[in-house]
């Protein structure tokens, strides 16, 4: 692609971007949210047409007007959100939309041939599962493999992977990266988009960095380092990316004792967080951390046994939790954290709406004033608080979720994967905010699958494995090795 330009009303999204990829090459595309990565990918996928510039495949200029044309040119997408159907089996997914038919009666499916071909491509990916396994029995990582199998079976020569590891565990991530290398060896060109710079260091042959809709440079294999990438992406040094650390914490500020979740009813979990402390919670996906967060927030059956500042709390619903100053920033922003169809103002004011109301009637001025104030403080980038949340970038959406709780008085904040899918700049802002909140005396529980984040942000780290708390590491004991051992249930060294 060369000289790609795209303007939207009010935004010059791409200002002459060039990108090229060879067969058997892995090019990482990095940049903050809003840098133009998605727009560029949508142009390759035929969703948008460029205003200027050209696309060439094998040297021939092409025009891509639809997803179907992209497929015909051998361009396949693996999206961040999985596009598989849970109600079908693997073969059904792989052949979705181009099912093989039998001769004779038109419209009869040739299941046998589909099964065979599916199993062959699963083999190639190292996923030894029968082709008739229903998708809803597979883990997220396996589903993603199915999606990759589908795209590859379309004879994709160029594979675009958008944040493929954002919902994978570490082992699954490692397997995916191995697969990327394997595909590269088979001659597939891969555009790899990720915010996880460690993966990029590991797998990319080149890294192309976008900032504000323009190329800022390309790093070759040897030059790719975390620091250089960050500097190029944000255009400045992020000196205090992780700002340590809580001091003078008041212990046993928030206590959880004997907590059981519906998913792991046989395990009791107890821990405490000090005022001013950030407790990181590590573990593999499915270790029961999200369920734990939901239980504390009153979303998982029976009321948990909680104490805040020594006083017992009754939390039977999120309403109760919120009344006591316990807030949850959920893992799935779009599903549980935000009403994406509503605007920023309506989202931020929702939990505290009665504060801006007299006799049940909302005063919009007071509401708007408060929301605009907090959004300014959090540096939410939007033209106005009347903007629909769906149109914001991931980082800004997360700030809106946070703004909601910061307008109230947080005593305990539970962050579930606080920076998933968020760019580096916004990440740093969120970490800083967490630290400020802790310093203001809040107890913070941070659930994260991002090892860097756990190690960088936490004052202590709790590790879970299959519903049980397998370890509590003090700052000095925290190491990737220790955490991983506890997370897989092996106990520390």
């Amino acid at each position: 692609m060369s000289g790609i330009e795209k303007r939207f009303p009010g935004v010059h999204a791409l200002k002459g971007v060039d990108l090229e990829i060879g067969a058997g090459e892995v090019v990482a595309l990095v940049g903050e949210n809003g840098a133009g990565k998605s727009t560029l990918m949508k142009i390759i996928g035929g969703v948008y047409q460029p205003d200027a510039g050209s696309l060439r495949v094998d040297g021939h200029p092409v025009v891509i007007r639809s997803a179907a044309e992209a497929i015909r040119l051998g361009i396949g997408f693996i999206h961040q959100e999985l596009n598989v159907l849970d109600n079908l089996d693997i073969a059904g997914n792989v052949f979705l939309g181009r099912e093989l038919r039998r001769g004779g009666f038109p419209g009869l499916l040739d299941r046998k041939r589909m099964m065979a071909e599916t199993e062959a491509s699963l083999q190639r990916l190292g996923l030894g599962l029968p082709a008739d396994t229903p998708l809803d029995r597979l883990s997220i990582a396996q589903r993603q493999m199915v999606e990759i199998a589908r795209v590859l079976s379309l004879n994709a020569r160029i594979l675009i992977m958008d944040e493929p590891t954002s919902s994978l565990t570490q082992t699954e991530t490692a397997r995916l990266l191995a697969l990327v290398k394997e595909l590269r060896a088979q001659g597939v060109g891969i555009i790899y988009i990720s915010h996880r710079l460690g993966e990029i260091e590991e797998v990319a042959d080149r890294a192309a960095v976008l900032r504000d809709g323009a190329n800022v440079g390309t790093l070759a294999r040897g030059e790719i380092t975390h620091d250089r990438l960050v500097t190029m992406m944000v255009g400045r040094d992020l000196n205090h990316f992780y700002s340590h650390h809580g001091e003078g914490r008041r212990p046993r500020y928030f206590e959880v004792s004997g907590l059981r979740t519906r998913r792991y009813p046989h395990h009791e979990v107890s821990f405490e967080i000090g005022a001013g402390e950030i407790l990181g919670m590590a573990g593999l996906v499915g270790a029961g951390r999200t369920e734990l967060a939901q239980a504390i927030f009153g979303l998982d059956g029976g009321p948990p046994d909680l104490r805040l500042d020594g006083r017992p709390l009754r939390v039977g619903s999120p309403r109760d939790a919120i009344r006591h100053g316990i807030y949850l920033i959920p893992e799935d922003r779009r599903r549980s954290g935000l009403i994406t169809e509503s605007n920023i103002r309506e989202n931020v004011s929702l939990p505290a709406l009665s504060c801006y109301a007299k006799a049940g009637i909302v005063s919009r001025e007071r509401e708007r004033g408060a929301v605009a104030g907090i959004c300014g403080r959090l540096n939410v980038r939007a033209p106005s608080v009347e903007m629909r949340v769906a149109n914001l970038s991931g980082g800004n959406q997360q700030k809106v979720v946070l703004a909601k709780w910061l307008l109230l008085e947080p005593k305990v904040l539970i962050f579930d994967e606080p920076t998933r899918g968020i760019d580096v700049g916004a990440k740093a802002e969120i970490y800083e905010l967490m630290r400020n909140l802790a310093e203001a005396g809040a107890a913070i529980l941070m659930i994260s699958s991002d090892m860097e984040e756990i190690l960088g942000v936490s004052d202590r780290v709790a590790v879970m494995h299959e519903g049980a708390l397998t370890g509590m590491l003090e700052r000095g004991e925290c190491s990737e090795d220790n955490i991983m051992r506890l997370a897989v249930g092996k106990g520390r060294k």
């Binding site: 927030f297 999120p318 949850l328 309506e346 909302v362």
Partner: protein, 316 residues
């Protein structure tokens, strides 16, 4: 706002065309009659709109009208209840039924469509059974002139149901568009889970929408009973829920929930009544009544969708 503007233009254009083709459209008597019907239909359409905004639906309204009409007639003419007691009893009943629907939907987690479909069947059957499948009426009995006036009276030439609709609309406009509760309704309709995570008591909000809708349906049902003055349990109120749903959808309520406005619902109701009237005034065979309505609603909703998609494209 844009959505309402579209249907307003359609409404005005339709009125203009009909009044050119048949000047009787603008006669006092015709306008009065139309306003009376808009009043009665509007009241329960607003209720349906609230339910639709929570991403629910209520199919039982027409059958509730029959049940309530039959009971009202029996209370007043056979059992000799005072009018006030009968009204209170009827409204309590419709609110209780709404509450029951709400509980089945929020607690037992049944789908609104199924719950209220069963209601549609059940209340119709109940009405026919209670009435012994006979038409119940109010005849010329005395003692409830107030209720008759509510349906058939006028104040300064404006039909009483229309005045009632204006009052209810004003109240409901404040409730839906300015109050905390209204904001919760939209929040629940757009994303129930996120609303719950924000501490909104989503079950209460949804259930209360059905109760409110029940109250409004009760008020409208009383008007209809006295408007027709006789209640045939097998046909009274047939299809009325669909008029309400059509009015709400025409007025911009999305069946996916979270969208809609009082003004839109009012315009939708008015449009449907103008269409009914048009069929009569333009000499279109009355058997085509439903076909005309179906075609216009479809055209309206399709046009709206096309315009919306265009708009979305130019924005992006």
């Amino acid at each position: 706002m844009k959505k309402e503007l579209g249907i307003l233009i359609l409404l005005v254009a339709l009125c203009a065309v009909v009044s050119v083709l048949n000047p009787r459209f603008l006669s006092g008597a015709n306008l009065q009659n139309m306003a009376r019907l808009i009043g009665a239909y509007g009241v329960f359409s607003i209720g349906l709109g609230l339910v639709i905004i929570t991403s629910g639906i209520d199919l039982s309204v027409g059958s509730v009208f029959a049940l309530l009409g039959v009971l009202l007639s029996m209370m007043l003419t056979q059992w000799g209840w005072p009018a006030a007691a009968a009204v209170i009893a009827v409204l309590a009943l419709t609110m209780a039924l709404g509450g029951l629907h709400g509980l089945l939907i929020t607690r037992v987690r049944l789908q609104p469509f199924i719950v209220t479909l069963c209601g549609l069947l059940f209340y119709r059957g109940l009405a026919r059974f209670i009435a012994g499948d006979e038409t119940k009426g109010f005849g010329n009995s005395a003692g409830f002139e107030g209720l008759r006036d509510l349906a058939n009276g006028s104040l300064f030439g404006i039909p009483a149901p229309f005045i009632l609709l204006v009052i209810i609309s004003l109240v409901m406009w404040v409730v839906l568009h300015r109050s905390v509760y209204g904001r919760y309704l939209f929040a629940v309709g757009r994303n129930e889970e996120a609303a719950r995570y924000c501490g909104v008591n989503t079950r209460l909000v949804v259930t209360s929408a059905y109760v409110l809708s029940g109250l409004l349906a009760g008020i409208a049902g009383i008007i209809f009973a006295f408007y027709t003055n006789s209640v045939s349990p097998s046909s009274h109120g047939n299809f009325f829920e669909l008029y309400g749903i059509a009015a709400a959808v025409l007025g911009g309520c999305s069946l996916r929930g979270g969208e809609g406005s009082i003004i839109g619902i009012l315009l939708g109701t008015a449009l449907l009544q103008v269409l009914q009237n048009l069929v009569n005034l333009l000499g279109i065979p009355s058997s085509l009544n439903f076909a005309v309505m179906g075609a216009v609603i479809l055209a309206g909703v399709a046009a709206d969708q096309v315009i919306k998609q265009r708009a979305a494209k130019t924005v992006k």
